[in-house]
Amino acid sequence: MAGQSNPDLSVFSAPEVEFLAEDEMVEIVPNIRMEALNMICGDFGPFFPQIASKVPLWLAVALKKRGKCTIRTPEWMSVERLTQVLEAERESSREFQPLPFHYVEISRLLFDHAHDDIPDLYMVRSLIEDIRDVRFHKVETGLETISGRTHAVKLKNLSAMEVNIVRPFMVRALQAFYRHDSPQMIQQPRTMGGSRPQAVDRGPRRDLRPR
């Protein structure tokens, strides 16, 4: 959490989340022959032209910027898959469809840097935007259900960006409820003052468990 821009808010900024997403692996098709790259995070390559290999997104984007490869669109980023996901998202108001944890960021990065490698770019982009909107809306409506009796909220298949958006509100709301419910237990975080965000970040669930 050292990289957080604003430790008080316990939230990542969008670029920070994107930075985290750059570690996701994607498939590239290099158009050059290149020896293996030995990085701290691992060894990638060697690369042969026209033979697909897996690299982290940041490396893919770096190579792409230099015109050394094409990025293969992830399997979930096809029009039919996204259409299915969108339909399913619209159908069930409570559940989220499984998508990559960083789907918002990955698609954003690919749209920015590898738009020429994505078939049906416009369609894919609008589908992903739709899915994102539907899901954000769902998250927001879901928050309304939090009440005094809520001790934990279970959100399956939530993506990084979605979590990031609701995190401060969710945590504080739960804390507030908590505080009203049993004031003596909340003493501790209050005394901790400045270091509160860290404690919060470790998860309110843990605090909840004793109850």
């Binding site: 098709v29 158009n31 050059i32 022959r33 290149m34 032209p49 026209q50 033979i51 697909a52 015109g67 050394k68 094409t70 293969r72 078939p119």
Partner: protein
């Protein structure tokens, strides 16, 4: 409709009982052929001279059950209960040949339309398809459970329909011999021994198949889908036993078990005429050129029903509609005179039907037309009909002239199957032309050449996969229309085929980078067509339609023109090698291509390889090329990839099978290239079998795997790896031979060979482990014999001891001993008195020691070892060097095989204590101490605790291996180790003891060891 009685005459004197009789009109309606199952003679009756006695053909020894007539050449086939099928010339009835024999009576015969194929079937299993030209059996179609009683060729020669006694109808595809549709129990069940026989018949246009149905009706089935179209149901009270289409397909005559013969209008689906007989009619035949129907009953009496179709209706032979047709209002539209040309025309039609493609179409039209007719649209039809009639007359007379020639050709070609044509020439890595789409002229591991046609000229682009390294090549506008191209690092070659009269075949070469300007060149070939082009370092080759192999230099100099043995299939170049595939001969009747491959060394002017190119049955060559290492490879349409290997004096090995590797059905592998262990291909989604230029195809790597039988071992991967690495090793060895012959430095290759050997040993060790696990001890022993390094054998011994197989360990030990013995015998002349067990370790270690003479000894030893040891390859010395490097003089733990053994141990989840033993040799003194202790405990264990005995074998054995190491090291480093003298003696004796106990070593060995002991 008045019923006219048909007078029947006796043709065959039966035994008085009912028997199946057959009747046929000849093709010009002058003769009738009859046969009876109770009479061995076949009679040919001239209808025009009824008084003349019938000609009797008496060649069969038993009743004749089946007759068939063919148009070209006019011949009669007869099938009999005496199991034979005979062929006669017709109409003179000369016996020609016994076409085939069955083991059981024949029930049915059929000629195809052109007469090139005869189908025969009966109570035997399988329908025989016989090429009449040479009476060879071209196919046997098996699938019927009961005896086959009816056969019918589709008029367009695509299908054969057959029906058996159980009423099952099967559509056979003639080109492949596969059953396309099987319709179970749709016809009445009948016993072949008794009567009736099931029959079936195609309509003359081939669109429908008529089969007697189960409900006393006739059911029509669709040609392509085998779906039930409609039924003719009417006045038959019992099942239909025979049916026959009128020549124009408008009518159908059916005979039932109820002794009736009905004539149906197929379009109206209504019976229009009927006749009742005294006996059951078992065969019917329409006169091909007249309104008459010949019938024969079960008693062998035949008659001609004339006119069968009421004269008020269209003639059954009438190809053109509305002729002489009388509609419901009773108007004659045309004069009687018009009938004659029309009948003649339709006769020709009937005979020559199969020769023109237009005929089935016109037939269809006719049928539609007749529907209109019946709906009394006669006014508009009249003129059209006349026009058509004239047309058809013209056409048919034209056809008649051509007919003979065409038919002859057809006889020749259709006896082979349509599919089994000699394969066309192709350029490896090219895709078929597609309208409006870019396509590959060449695609290889280096790059691609693509073209797209655009208003009379093409646009050619050359792309390299490696954009970083490959030269940039500007795109080219192509006015020649190149269809062949080849590409390598230095340039590209293009060629176009001749188009039309004036266009000449052009060969063009474009270098990518050159110091001189205008170094592009082109050649024109007059009257000769380039079929395939290939490219190598410094040369360009083109194979032409004259079977010439033309070799040019890179600069355009014409160097050689060679003649090839046959039409070219493909050619490919690799450095200085050119491989050309040609047809060795016409393809086999089964459809197998006969291909031959030749490899030319352009720079040397030699031909290193010339052999047949094997293919999977019924497949053709789809890709041909060299692997990255320069191994000749070929892929066929069944997806089997073969690599040429020097094993067994040059043979092809199947290294990949697409059908086995395929994960899902809708994937096709389009081969691009391969290396020693991987296959590079483009995966295409079915139905596409080749890649498109856009989106850019991505190569997929697949592992090569031999099509091994599924073994009881369950270690297919290992077995595969074993064979593949062996193949790889043999390739390396071949290369080493070549290099050393050329006087080049082979060190690198030697290293590679050694590494490969080590890899094989590693693989063998794993195989031994799985053999032991599945209790295949003999196989494990065989594998041990294949190990090439002593260290690996020791590893194997450790392995089996860890797996608690002392018996096997003992065997392995004796194998090791034997091997060392052969080594020592080989070096008997050498002045070394080292023991057998220490010799190799000595050599390994002494090599590191500075004494030069000893090194020499070792070298001689290793040289002689290479002579005696079967597995050791001649680069033994290099191997030792390598081993030395790896061992590093003192650290045996780095030895690859020791490591292997460890890997295997870990894999086998064996006891932990083994590892320390393996490592033990790292530390001299520790090893020494432990060894002594081990030996002692061994002794104890052998005396006492029987439970631990098995476990104890393990350290004992390992101690043998390690103590050998230790002792030799000790010897060579004696001055370094202060305890050397005292302990080494002790150690020797303990070693001796252990060996004695375990292996019951022979005296000779003992002496040698004693000798050695005496020496220090």
């Amino acid at each position: 409709m008045k019923a006219r009685s048909v007078r029947l005459r006796e043709a065959h004197k039966g035994s008085g009982s009912a028997s199946h009789c057959s009747i046929l009109w000849d093709l010009d309606g002058r003769h009738l052929v009859t046969a009876s199952a109770s009479d061995p003679s076949v009679s040919i009756l001239d209808v025009s001279q009824p008084s003349k006695p019938a000609k009797a053909l008496q060649h069969h020894r038993d009743g004749v059950t089946a007759l068939a007539l063919s148009a070209n050449p006019s011949s009669l086939a007869t099938g009999s209960i005496d199991h034979s099928v005979k062929l006669y010339s017709f109409p003179d009835g000369e016996f020609q040949s016994n076409v085939t024999r069955f083991t059981l009576p024949i029930r049915s015969l059929a000629f195809n339309k052109s007469g090139s194929l005869l189908a025969a079937a009966g109570d035997d299993d399988g329908i025989k398809l016989i090429a009449t030209l040479d009476s060879s059996i071209s196919k046997v179609l098996k699938g019927h459970k009961g005896s086959v009683t009816g056969l019918a060729f589709d008029p367009t020669n695509e299908f054969l329909a057959s029906v058996d006694a159980f009423g099952t109808v099967i559509y056979w595809e003639l080109s492949s011999g596969n059953a396309v549709h099987t319709l179970k129990a749709i016809a009445p069940n009948c016993d072949a021994e008794t009567l009736p026989l099931n029959v079936l018949s195609w309509s003359p246009d081939g669109e429908t198949l008529a089969v007697p149905g189960l409900r006393n009706d006739v059911v029509m089935y669709d040609r392509d889908t085998a779906e039930k179209l409609f039924t003719l149901k009417g006045d038959h009270e019992r099942p239909v036993c025979f049916l026959s289409w009128s020549p124009n397909g408008k009518y159908i005559a059916t005979a039932g078990l109820d002794k009736q013969v009905l004539i149906w209008d197929v379009d109206l689906r209504q019976d229009i005429e009927r006749q009742k007989f005294d006996d059951r009619i078992c065969c019917l035949s329409w006169k091909p050129n007249g309104n008459a129907l010949a019938v024969i009953d079960v008693m062998g009496k035949f008659g001609i029903w004339e006119p069968a179709v009421p004269s008020c209706m269209k003639s059954p032979t009438d190809g053109a509609p509305s002729l002489q047709a009388k509609n419901a209002n009773g108007h004659f539209l045309f004069d009687e005179d018009d009938e004659k040309p029309s009948t003649a025309g339709s006769l020709d039609d009937a005979i020559e039907e199969s020769h023109g493609e237009s005929t089935p179409l016109s037939r269809k039209r006719l049928r539609k037309q007749s529907v209109y007719d019946d709906n009394s649209n006669e006014d508009s039809d009249g003129e059209e009909g006349l026009m058509r009639q004239i047309e058809s007359h013209k056409r048919s007379s034209l056809k008649h002239r051509e007919g003979v020639r065409v038919a002859k050709e057809e006889c020749v070609t259709s006896s082979k199957w349509a599919k089994s044509k000699m394969q066309e020439a192709f350029q490896p890595g090219s895709t078929p032309a597609q309208i409006g789409k870019r396509r590959f002229l060449a695609y290889n591991m280096l790059g691609s050449i693509t073209t797209i046609e655009n208003e009379g000229y093409s646009h050619i682009e050359v792309d390299f996969h490696d954009t970083g390294r490959g030269p940039r090549v500007s795109s080219m506008t192509d006015y020649f229309g190149f269809t062949m191209a080849s590409l390598n690092e230095n340039g590209s070659v293009f060629a176009n085929p001749c188009k039309g009269e004036k266009n000449m075949s052009t060969l063009m070469y474009r270098p990518f980078s050159t110091w001189a300007s205008n170094s592009e060149w082109s050649m024109r070939l007059e009257g000769e067509e380039v079929k395939v082009v290939a490219l190598g370092t410094g040369w360009v080759a083109a194979v032409t339609s004259f079977n010439f192999l033309r070799i040019f230099t890179e600069g355009g100099l014409q160097r050689h023109v060679l003649c090839l043995n046959g039409p070219v299939v493909s050619a490919v170049g690799f450095n200085n090698l050119l491989a050309v595939v040609t047809h060795a001969s016409d393809c086999l009747p089964s459809g197998d291509q006969m291909l031959e491959v030749k490899v030319f060394d352009i720079s040397e002017g030699t031909q290193p390889v010339g052999c047949h190119l094997p293919l999977t049955p019924c497949s053709y060559l789809t890709w041909f090329g060299f692997s990255e290492e320069g191994q000749l490879s070929a892929n066929d349409s069944k997806g089997v990839l073969r690599v040429f290997s020097n094993q067994y004096g040059g043979s092809w090995l199947p290294v990949f099978s697409a059908s086995k590797a395929k994960k899902s059905e809708d994937e096709n592998y389009w081969i691009v290239g391969l290396n020693a262990s991987k296959l590079f291909c483009i995966i295409c989604k079915s139905p596409e079998s080749f890649p498109l230029v856009m989106p850019k195809p991505v190569l997929t790597l697949l592992n090569l795997s031999l099509p091994l039988a599924s073994s009881d071992l369950g270690a297919d991967d290992l077995e595969n790896e074993f064979i593949m690495t062996n193949l790889h090793l043999s390739q390396i060895q071949k290369k080493i031979e070549e290099f050393s012959a050329a006087g080049l430095n082979t060190t690198e290759l030697d290293d590679e060979a050694f590494n490969t050997e080590a890899a094989i040993d590693r693989c063998i060790l794993r195989l031994i482990a799985s053999c032991c696990n599945s209790d295949k001890l003999v196989r494990a022993t065989e594998l041990v014999k294949l190990l090439s390094l002593e260290k690996s054998v020791k590893g194997a011994i450790k392995l089996v001891t860890a797996l608690k197989l002392p018996m096997l360990a003992e065997r392995f030990n004796s194998i090791l001993e034997e091997r060392l013995l052969t080594v020592s015998k080989g070096i008997a002349a050498a002045p070394s008195l080292a023991t057998n067990s220490t010799i190799t370790n000595n050599t390994l270690l002494l090599r590191a020691s500075p004494a030069p003479e000893i090194t020499k000894v070792v070298e001689t030893a290793s040289a002689s070892a290479s002579l005696t040891l079967p597995q050791s390859h001649f680069s033994r010395q290099g191997k030792f060097e390598k081993a030395n490097n790896m061992v590093g003089g003192i650290e045996p733990c780095k030895d690859p095989d020791e490591e292997n053994a460890k890997i295997v141990f870990n894999q086998m989840k064996s006891h932990q204590p083994i590892n320390p033993f393996a490592k033990q040799s790292n530390n001299q003194e520790k090893a020494e101490e432990r060894r002594q202790r081990d030996v002692e405990t061994c002794k104890d264990a052998s005396k006492g605790n029987p439970k631990e005995g098995i476990d104890q074998v393990l350290p004992k054995v390992t101690s043998v291996g390690i103590s050998n190491d230790g002792s030799s090291q000790r010897q060579s480093h004696r001055p370094v180790n202060p305890f050397a003298k005292a302990s080494s003696n002790h150690e020797k004796s303990s070693l001796l003891d252990s060996i004695k106990k375990m292996k019951k070593a022979d005296h000779e060995k003992n002496e040698k060891v004693n000798n050695k002991k005496a020496r220090p």
